[in-house]
């Protein structure tokens, strides 16, 4: 690995100054060095990919650029002029716009009203004029958005366009997109990239955070890779590097691909998870599952694909007995075929922070919250025994969980996910239900998690896995069930799955 040249001047002599130049940004939180001497340079009309594992320091860097954090050291230049954005409003005034991963729109308001929230509108709110301006802006940037539509009626992809529009209307010349593709179907990714191309053609700079190499190759002119808060590849052309080299730059070592050769599913194997005509209501009262039929056999891994909000969460919850059915039948069986309570299932929840973390309790205390009997000693919990089991589970699963005494709510999302994965996957469960198991994990731990799930499958478990990463589903699943609007839109054998065909099913079309 070659170290980047640090004391680069903000601009080369003679060349016009870059749109954004960050030189030597450094930020520590206590004894954690989130960013050490980080450089980033974005030209006008450039799409710059920022990549790195979780915890590599991407968010910290972006937050410093956007004025959320103040850097401990380092300087920042916009158009060659030194600037120090003290807060996001100041950053916006400098022409920096940020589209966060979790979109921040008010669902009950219209597009125009949401845009108005981010603009200085004076005392009187003149909606008609704003609507016209939005229509003009959306035409000129190829953002297909109806200003009068209520945001809650829009798809995730459309909401993202509204967010981009918001930043543009606020005068952004540099648009930062934080992992924009993680919530999109392939077709929506494509239309997002068309928008990005358009912004580029208009002379804007775009920073796109992603760790998907195919996306980097599709859209980025240059890329910067961070690892442990330091720049390992500085503004390089992705075409000059192989996938292996880029992954190694992110992870620090080579990661072997998942083994493709696996024992085929025994067609006579027992069905351990059976759903027939399952219907249930979502949290807001509408029907979320509209008649799902689904079987998973012992030794089979079935993947669930779909745009976020297509019923995956409700499916997950009915399998675990957490959500009442309005009709139909869910059966979870033990390995010997006898019907079992859903407790037999191991579960990786969609949102571990909301669904698994009890604030103030330690890693050790969370290890007993798996639905099995807690080891007792007298009237209390046998914490020594729990400690032994935790060490054993950690050694077996190999995700290197945080110290047992740490408070779980003080850990990062990835560390929390590792605790939950270790707890749920350290013992064999006949049925394993995993929602986005590798979300929030770095590449090495994500790979290990995938291996552990495949080990459960090989041991004869029926595994049901929800994922937003089609590559992950194609490489791990035996069958992929595509959900759309509470229905099963199609079932595809993973061996002959095609990304675009899956995407069409996800969006409600025919395969």
């Amino acid at each position: 690995m070659t170290a980047p040249s640090h004391r680069r001047p903000p601009s080369r002599i003679g060349a016009p100054p870059a749109l954004l130049d960050v030189v030597g940004f450094t930020k520590s939180f206590g004894d954690v060095h989130a960013n050490t001497d980080v450089d980033l340079s974005v030209q006008r009309g450039e799409v710059h990919a920022l990549a790195g594992e979780n915890g590599a320091g991407k968010s910290t860097l972006l937050k410093m650029i956007f004025g959320v954090y103040e850097p401990d050291a380092g300087r920042m230049f916009v158009d060659g002029q030194p600037v120090t954005p003290g807060n996001p409003a100041h950053a916006r005034a400098l022409g920096i716009g940020m589209v966060f991963q979790d979109l921040r729109l008010v669902p009950a308001l219209t597009v125009a009203e949401n845009v108005a929230l981010s603009l200085r509108t004076g005392f009187r709110l003149r909606m008609d004029g704003l609507v016209r301006r939005i229509e003009e802006a959306s035409r000129s940037y190829g953002l297909d958005v109806d200003p009068r539509a209520q945001v809650r009626t829009l798809s995730i992809g459309e909401r993202q366009r509204v967010e981009i529009l918001k930043t543009l209307m606020a005068g952004a010349r540099l648009v930062i997109l934080d992992e924009p593709t993680s919530v999109l179907a392939p077709q929506e990714v494509q239309s997002l990239f068309e928008v990005v191309e358009r912004l580029k053609a208009e002379g804007l700079g775009v920073v796109i955070v992603t760790h998907k190499l195919n996306e980097v190759r599709a859209i980025a002119d240059r890329m910067t890779i961070l690892r442990r808060g330091e720049v390992v590849l500085n503004a390089v052309a992705p075409a000059d590097y192989t996938d292996g080299a880029l992954i190694e730059a992110m992870v620090g070592r080579a990661v072997a691909p998942l083994p493709r050769q696996r024992r085929p599913v025994d067609p006579a194997g027992r069905t351990l998870l059976a759903l027939s005509d399952v219907r249930t209501d979502g949290d807001r009262g509408y029907e979320a599952l509209k008649g799902i039929d689904l079987d998973v056999r012992a030794g089979e891994l079935v993947g669930i694909a779909g745009v976020a909000g297509s019923g995956q969460r409700e499916l997950f919850e009915v399998v675990l007995g957490l959500r009442p059915l309005t009709s139909g039948h869910v059966e979870v069986r033990d390995v010997d075929g006898v019907p079992a309570r859903p407790r037999v299932a191991a579960a990786i929840p969609e949102d571990p922070v909301a669904d698994s973390v009890v604030p103030g309790l330690s890693v050790l205390q969370h290890m007993v919250l798996d639905g099995r009997e807690v080891p007792r000693k007298g009237v209390g919990v046998d914490w020594a025994e729990v400690g032994r089991r935790t060490a054993e589970a950690d050694a077996k699963v190999g995700l290197d969980i945080a110290a047992p005494r740490r408070t779980l709510s003080g850990l990062s999302g990835g560390n929390i996910q590792r605790v939950v994965l270790t707890r749920e996957l350290s013992t064999f469960s006949p049925v394993v239900v995993a929602a986005y198991p590798s979300r929030g994990l770095d590449i090495a731990n994500a790979r290990r998690t995938q291996e552990v799930l495949l080990e459960q499958r090989a041991a004869g478990a029926a595994v049901l896995m929800v994922s937003e990463d089609l590559e992950e589903l194609i490489s791990m699943a035996d069958r992929i069930v595509v959900m759309h609007d509470g229905h099963v839109a199609g079932v595809v054998a993973a061996a002959d799955a095609d990304r675009m065909a899956l995407g069409r099913l996800m969006l409600g079309g025919a395969a």
Partner: protein, 353 residues
């Protein structure tokens, strides 16, 4: 993981955090006193002399300290009645009613066994009656919460009024003591039913009950499976549900146990201090217990301290009225100021992750 944490810096950090908290407490209390002084000044009284009076004639006066402890006893039990449901994430504002119902049941039981009953019999029956009544009263709110999803903070408050008027109904009617010369009180409990005093002091044994109750709850919270599960339910009910914990049973048990403790507070106040029900019986014990629990941040042992503190402020009121000519209610201002200042300044802020 980042490098191995060395013991010493971590200990130092914990120590700084703790001294920081203590400093904030001190600052909060001082601020409350300063604002209170301004109030006293506005009444043309010298605040320093008032604070001096409080020190010499209340806090260093043995008889007054005994009064404080007697007053603190039902406060502590009523605070524990908030602590236990609070651990499960429930808000029990019904201590007031549960205290009254407990006392009413105890008084009724005392009348039932008769004034001449053996002390052991009288005490057993009265305690049982009080805790069952208090628990059942809280159980109504628990049932409404679990069946109808009605917020317990609302139902417990409303039940306070029901309890108060139930007591008034009884002491103005069938329980009215004919010997009380027209006053609306119940007959005094029998001599055997009165709680004995500790040695030669003026403090009755109820304080021992309160301390034991706090210790038992502390043990249950920190050392038992039930306490652990209650903590999980209170911390994240969804996580508890997904872990297969009996969430309904835990919520019910926590609120009912809260009622039991409040009922016990009612019993202790009746058998140790008041001896008979009167229209103002137990007034504000439940609410002051609620404040004491919040001051202690729902920690069972800290409740003993906060209950004593609010009792001291309450006792001070009488002194101020006599010595400084300030209205007795003026200490309520101090109590309110202390509470707001302490809650506002010592809140546990979420660490920046």
């Amino acid at each position: 993981m980042t490098g191995v944490a060395v013991g010493a810096p971590r200990r130092t950090a914990a120590l700084t955090a703790r001294t920081g908290t203590a400093a904030r407490w001190l600052a909060a209390c001082t601020a409350a006193l300063v604002i209170f002084s301004a109030f006293i000044l506005a009444n043309d009284v010298d605040p320093l002399s008032v604070l001096g009076t409080i020190w010499t004639s209340v806090l260093t006066e043995p008889r007054q300290v005994e009064q404080i402890l007697v007053r603190a006893t039902p406060f502590a039990l009523a605070a524990l009645a908030v602590v236990v449901p609070g651990r499960a994430g429930l808000v029990n504002v019904g201590g007031e009613g549960q205290v009254i119902v407990g006392a009413v049941a105890a008084a009724g039981a005392g009348m039932w066994v008769g004034a001449d009953a053996a002390p052991a019999v009288a005490v057993t029956v009265m305690v049982l009656a009080a805790v069952v009544a208090g628990g059942a009263w809280a159980g109504i709110a628990a049932a409404l919460r679990l069946v109808g999803d009605v917020n317990e903070a609302v139902t417990t408050v409303l039940l306070n009024f029901v309890a108060l008027y139930l007591m008034l109904f009884l002491i103005l009617g069938s329980w009215r003591d004919d010997a009380a010369m027209g006053q609306a009180t119940s007959p005094e409990i029998g001599p055997g039913a009165k709680l004995p005093l500790l040695g030669t002091s003026g403090v009755h044994v109820g304080i021992v009950v309160a301390v034991i109750a706090a210790l038992v709850i502390w043990f249950a919270f920190t050392r038992t499976t039930w306490g652990f599960r209650l903590t999980v339910v209170g911390g994240n009910p969804e996580a508890a549900r997904r872990a297969g914990l009996p969430v309904t049973v835990l919520l019910l048990s926590a609120l009912v146990l809260g009622g039991v403790l409040a009922g016990l507070a009612g019993y202790v106040h009746l058998a140790g201090a008041e001896y008979k029900l009167r229209p103002t019986f137990g007034a504000n014990i439940g609410y002051i217990g609620f404040l004491a629990s919040w001051l202690a941040r729902h920690r069972p042992l800290a409740v003993l301290v906060s209950a004593a503190a609010v009792a001291a402020i309450a006792i001070t009121g009488n002194t101020l009225q006599i010595s400084a000519g300030l209205p007795a209610a003026s200490v309520n201002i101090l109590m309110g100021l202390v509470l707001v200042a302490v809650l506002g300044w010592t809140s546990v802020r979420k660490a920046d992750a």
